[in-house]
Symmetry: D3
Subunit: 237 residues, 6 copies
C-alpha cells in the first residue's frame, strides 16, 4: 500500500513534521511519501493562499496517480483543492478537514473546531456546511494566535488550546475537540486526559482511515460532483 | 488487536456469515471474534425486536471489555443499543449504521440507504437525523422484500438492489449507495462496476475503521451522552 | 374512558405521586390506572436504564390493551419504549416528552427544557430532533441536581428551577418552560406567576390530551413507523 | 367552561356548519358559541382576504374576553390574525392550523396537508415554517378545486381527497393527513378506514384541545411574541 | 421612472423624514412620492398595529398602480401587508425588511438585526424564517428603547446602537449590521468607520434596488404565492 | 461610476457577448469595462477549470482597484474566486451566482436554477448552501446540454430551457427561474411571457445591482471572511 500526503504549502519544516508524526503511526507495510506543493504559498492563512496553492497541488495529485500511489491526502485543515483533486484522480483522495469532521460525528454528541485566528472562524463555519456536517457542530473557536505564534511559543499555545477547549466543552457542549492547525497537535493526549474528552489530530486520523479504505478498495464517487472533466464533456455528446 | 463483532439477533447463520466476510478483510494480526445475543430475537425487523435485543447485547459488550477486547461492533443496520453500550464500555464501540453514514459523507455529494421493507423507511429516516447526518442524505429506498426473502431469493434480490440503486442515483442524485441489510451485501462490487458509483457494505466498512481507530487509540467520548451511569450519578454529589 | 399511566421505573413512591397529581385533574368520568414496570430499574437516569425499562413496559402496554384501556401514557420524560409500545398497541399511546414538546410549540415562540443533570443535556437534545420539534427549541438547561437530590431538597430544587428558568428566558429567549423531571413539578404555578411565562408539567399536559383525543377517537398512525410487527412481515408476502 | 369559535369569514352557512360539527363533540358541560367576523370577506382564499378578516376578528376576540369566555378558537385553516389576537387577549387563543400541525407531529412520522387550490400551496408551506413545524411536514398537496367547488360537488371532492391522500402516503411517506379546508371534512372516518392512516379534522382537534387546556388553565405565553401592546410600550419606560 | 414609498403608519413626521433621506439618494430622473396610510396606527410596534395598518396600505398600493407608478416600497421594517400588496399589484412591490435581509446575505458571512424593544425579537426571528433567510442570520438584538425614545434621545440611541452592534460582531460573529428602525438610521456611516463593518439602512438599500430593478423590468412573481386573487379563483374553473 | 466585469474564462467571444448585453442596460453615465482572465481555461465546466481560473482573475481584480474602478463583477455562474477576490479588494466585488440567488429570494416563494449538464447539479447544490440561501431553493435542474451545445444549437437550447423550466414550476413549485449559463440567456423575456413567471439573467441582474450599490457606497464586509490577508496576520501581533 502506497500513500502520499501532500502538504499544500511550500514549507519544508511543516512537511518534515508531518512525515515524522505519520512515521510513528503508519503500519510497517505502508509506503509513506510526504511532499509539498512547489511554488505554493509558504503558509495557508487566507482564501488567497488557498487559491494559489491549488495549481501546484493538482500537479502532485496527478503525479501520485501516475506513480501508482493508492491514495492521496491533502494535509491542510481547510482542504484546498479537494474537489478538483478528486476530479483529477481515480485513486482515493481525502482531505483532512472533511475526514476528521465526519469521524467526529461518530464519537460524541457534537464537536468543536479549534482554529488559530478568529478572522478564520467564518471560513471554518462555511466548511462545516460545505461538507454537510453542520448539525453536529457545536462551535468553531479561535486561539487568537497566528500560525507562526503557535509554532514559536508552545507554552502559550498549550495554555490557549486547553482554555479554549474548556470553553467549547462547558459553554457549547462539545464532546469531541478537533485541533484545526498543525501547531496545536502535540498536546492531544494530555488534553484528553485532563479534560476527559476525545481530541482528534486531523492528519493522523485521516492517514489511518486512508490505510483502512485502501485495503478494501474504497474510493470517492466519480458519479457527478467529482466526475473527471473529460467524461463530463462527453456525457452530452 | 482484538475486536468483537456482536450480531444483536440470535441467528447462528447470520453470525457465521458475518464471520466469513470479515475473515476475508481482517488484517492478519487482528483477533476477530463474532458472537450473537443470547436470547435475542431471531431477526430485527421492528422497534420491538430492537428493544428486546438490547439487554443480551449489553451483556456481550460488558463481557468483551472484561475479556480485554479493544473494540466492539454492533452488527445490525439500525444500531440497537448503541447509546447504552457506549455507556457500559470504556473500549471503543461502533454501530455499523452510524459509522457507514459518516463514511458515506466523505465519498460523494449525497448518499442513499437501501432497506428491505418500505415500512422501515421512516425508522431509517429517524436514524439519519439521530446521527445528525441528514443534510447529506439523498433518500431511503426500499426493496419491498422481507429479510427472509432477501436471503431466500438471491436472484430477485440482486435485481431489486440494482433497480432501486438506479432510482436513487437518477431521481435522488445519490453518489454513494449504502446496503442496509446483510442479505444485499454480496452484490456490492458488481453494482459498483455497473453503475459507476460507490457502494458500501456497512459491516466491512465499520470493521476496517475499528482496526484503524484501535491502532491509534481513538475511542468514543465519555463526556456526557455516553458517560458511564456511575460517574453521572457522582457528578452532582 | 379508561386511561392507564405507566411509570417505566419501579419506584412505588413515584407511581403514587403520579397518581395523586392526576387524580386532581382527571375528569370525574375518566377511569385512571397508574402502574409501574415490574423488574424495571428504580430510576431512569441513563440510556442503560431506559433500555432495561422497555421489556417490562411493553408487557404493561399489552396488558392494558387486553384489559380494554383506551389509551396508555408512558410517564417518564425521555419516552422510553415509545416506538415499540406503539407497534404493540392499537390503542392510543402517548409519551409525555413528545406530547409536551408539541404542545409547547402552540403556546409561545420557543421553549426550553429543564433537566436534572447536565450530562443528560445531549440526550434531551437528541430527543428534540427525534421528535422533529427542534426549530422551536430555545435550549435545554440543567439544574445540576440528581433526581434523588430534587426529591430530597425541595427548597434547593425550587431555587434552582427558578434561577435556571430565568436564564432560559433572558439568555435563550424561551417563552415556555418544560419541567423535565417529576421532582420539579410542584412549582409550576408559582413559577408562572413570578416569571410571567408558561410552565408545563408534562404528565398533566399529556393526561389531559389523552382524555381529549380518546373522546374523539384520535390514535397514532399504524402506517409504517408504528406498524404492528406482524403486518409488517406480511406486507411483502 | 365557555369556548367561542370564531369563523373569520362572514359566511353564515359555514358558521352554522362549524356549530353543528362541534355540537356533536363538545362535552355536555362546555358552553359553545360560534360566531363570524362582521364585515369580513365571505371566504378566505387569498392573503388579501386574510388581511381584511383580521380587524373584525380582533373585535370578536376582545368581546369574548369581556364576556368571560375561557378560550377563543380561530376557525380558518390559515390562522389569520393569530398573533394580534393573542396580543389582544389574556384568555387562551388557538388557531386551528397551528394546533393541528402540532398534534400531527405526535401521531406519526410525518404529515401532509391537503389544500383546495394549488396556488395556495406556497402559503401553507410558509405557515409550516412560521409555526416551526417544518421538519415533520411531508408535503402540501392540492385538490385543484376551489372552496366553492368542494362545497358544490361532494362526490368529486371525496374522490379527490382520497386520490390526493393516497399520493401523499405513497410518494411523500405521510402517516397523518390534515384536511385543510372545511369542505373536505366529512370524509375523515371513511378515509381512515380505507387508507389505514390517521386523518385529522382541524376544527374538531382544536376544539377538544381547547377544552383540555382550559380545564387545567393552560394559556399562550404573554412574554414577548404575544405580549399585550400596552405592556410592551411600558417595558422600556 | 416613478416610485412610491408607503409609510404604513400615519406619522407625517416619519413620512417627511423618509422623503428627505431618499431625496438625497434618488437619481435625478426618478420621480419619488412618499405617502402614508390614512387611518393607520401612528406607530407600528405590535402585531395588532401591523394588522390595522394593512387595509389603508392596500388602498395606497392600488392607487399607485392606477397612477402609473413603476414600483411601490413598504417602508416599515416588518413588511406589513407584503403578501396582499403583491397580490393586489402587477407593479413591483418591495418590503424593506425582506430586501435588506437578502442584500445582507451578499455582503458578509452573517448579519444581525437591531430592533428597538426586546419584546419584538421573536417577531423579527419569525420574519427571518418567513423570508427563508435564516441560515445567514447571526442574531437579532434589541436596544431596549422604544421607538419614541430612539427619536427623543439621539445621544442615548447612538451609544446603544454602537454597543449592541459591538456585541453582535464580537459575540455572534455578525459581519453586516441591519438598522431595523428609522430612529437608528443616522449613525450608519459613523458606525461603519468605527467598527469596520457593513451597516445597512433598509429604506435606502431598498429604494436603490427598486430603481435598479425597475430599469430592467424585474417584478415579483405572480405565479402562486402572490397570484392576483381573481386569477386564483379562475384556475380551477 | 466605473464598473469592471471579469469573465473568468479566456473566451473572447463570451467576453464580447457579455459586453453587448450590458451595453444595452447600463446607465449612460456608467463606465463599463469587460475583460477576461489571461491564461484562464477557455470554458469553466469543472472544479479544475474553476481552480485554474482564479489566479488570473485575482490579477484582474487587483488591476481594477488600482485603476480606480468602483466595483468588480465575476461573470461566471459558479462565482470562482469570490472569496479571494473580496480579500484582495476594498472595492465592491460581486459574483453573479450569489447575487442572483439572493435577488430571487425577494421575488417569489422559491427559485430553481437551470444548469447545462446534470453532472454539475451537485456543484450548484453546494453553492446554494455555501451562500446560505438553501431554504428558498426549489431545485437545480439540468438541460443535459454542454455549454458548447447551448451555443451551437439555439433552437434546441430554447426548447430545453422551456421544458425544464416547466418541470421546475410544476413539479418543484418554483416561482423564479435562474438561467445558470450564458447560452440560455436570450430567451428570458419569451419565457416570462409564456410561463407567467419571473426569469432572471444573472449578469444583468448583478450589473444593475452593482450600479445601485456603488451609488450609495455599499461594499462587502472586510471584517473576517473577506478580511485582507495583510490585516489578518496583524490581528494577533
Amino acid at each position: 500500500m502506497k500513500i502520499v500526503v501532500i502538504n499544500p504549502n511550500s514549507s519544508k519544516e511543516m512537511t518534515e513534521s508531518i512525515r515524522e508524526s505519520l512515521e510513528r503511526v503508519r503500519r510497517p507495510e505502508t509506503v509513506l511519501e510526504v511532499c509539498c506543493g512547489e511554488g505554493a504559498p509558504s503558509a495557508i492563512e487566507s482564501a488567497t493562499d488557498m487559491a494559489m496553492s491549488v495549481p501546484p497541488l493538482l500537479e502532485k495529485v496527478r503525479w501520485a496517480e501516475a506513480e501508482g500511489y493508492d491514495a492521496a491526502i491533502i494535509a491542510c485543515f481547510s482542504d484546498p483543492g479537494l474537489e478538483p483533486a478528486r476530479e483529477a484522480a481515480n485513486i482515493l483522495v481525502l482531505g483532512i478537514e472533511q475526514t476528521t469532521l465526519a469521524v467526529a460525528t461518530m464519537l460524541g454528541h457534537t464537536y468543536s473546531i479549534l482554529t488559530p485566528l478568529s478572522t478564520r472562524i467564518p471560513s471554518k463555519e462555511q466548511d462545516v456546511r460545505r461538507f454537510r456536517l453542520d448539525p453536529a457542530c457545536a462551535s468553531v473557536r479561535a486561539l487568537d494566535l497566528s500560525v507562526a505564534q503557535t509554532e514559536a511559543d508552545p507554552g502559550l499555545t498549550k495554555r490557549r488550546v486547553k482554555d479554549v477547549s474548556r470553553l467549547a466543552i462547558e459553554q457549547d457542549g462539545a464532546e469531541v475537540i478537533i485541533l484545526g492547525c498543525a501547531g496545536m497537535v502535540g498536546y492531544a493526549d494530555e488534553l484528553e486526559r485532563e479534560l476527559g474528552i476525545v481530541v482528534l489530530d486531523p492528519t493522523t486520523v485521516t492517514f489511518k482511515l486512508a490505510e483502512a479504505m485502501t485495503e478494501t478498495g474504497v474510493r470517492h464517487s466519480k458519479r457527478a460532483l467529482y466526475a473527471s472533466p473529460r467524461s463530463r464533456g462527453g456525457e452530452a455528446a
